[in-house]
Point group: C2
Chain length 121, copies 2
């Protein structure tokens, strides 16, 4: 995927939703405060946020999970619990009509289904 804008060039108000993909990219992004702040602002905006596999690591750094229903890749589930999330062992978790999370690539069909549902509202 071609990246057409850097983090310095974007503003939360320009977007309808935020997609946080998995792999080890979130580990790198969360080490940079600009991405953490952008994620926090997006959660505060109440606009939809979709996070799968290791994607929710950015939500931990943004301190945006307290009391939220969520899931994530098995290795980060202890981190999600410590961050105050109610962690569910389900293929997809939708919280407060804003946050959609899934744990593995196998869950992508359910993750996409619920994410598109929120985007269509």
């Amino acid at each position: 995927m071609k990246i057409d804008k850097g983090i310095e060039d974007v503003n939360v108000s320009e977007f309808d939703a935020l997609l946080l993909t998995g792999g080890y990219s979130p580990d790198r992004l969360r080490a940079d405060d600009r991405f953490v702040e952008f994620t926090k602002e997006f959660m505060d905006s109440k606009k939809p946020v979709f996070a799968i596999c290791h994607g929710p690591q950015l939500l931990i750094s943004a301190k945006a999970l307290k009391g939220r229903d969520a899931t994530g890749f098995k290795s980060i589930q202890p981190d999600l619990e410590y961050a105050g999330a109610n962690v569910h062992d389900k293929e997809v978790v939708v919280c407060q009509n804003q946050l959609v999370t899934s744990g593995t690539p196998d869950d992508i069909p359910a993750f996409n289904r619920e994410s598109l549902k929120l985007l269509a509202e």
Copy 2:
């Protein structure tokens, strides 16, 4: 490094210390309960544990950090805090004469110095 024994073939009582290295290996190991349990037993044994960069992720999964002084790679510092650790921005942190942690490869000299000190006791 050649691995000469699998996790099923080892017992905490056979070792003097546990070294948890960084990179993305800890993320994979912590997804397997056998490695988490081994780490927990090592912490419970009070024998030395040395963890650098992403190594402390295994200590989070082992729920072994509550009230402990520690550090780790910047990206996992929020996880360490949520897990109840007192996180210090130092090149090396030694806690209760058992646990030695560092955050980056640059800290290896200090990490080795304090780890070897504990091993010599």
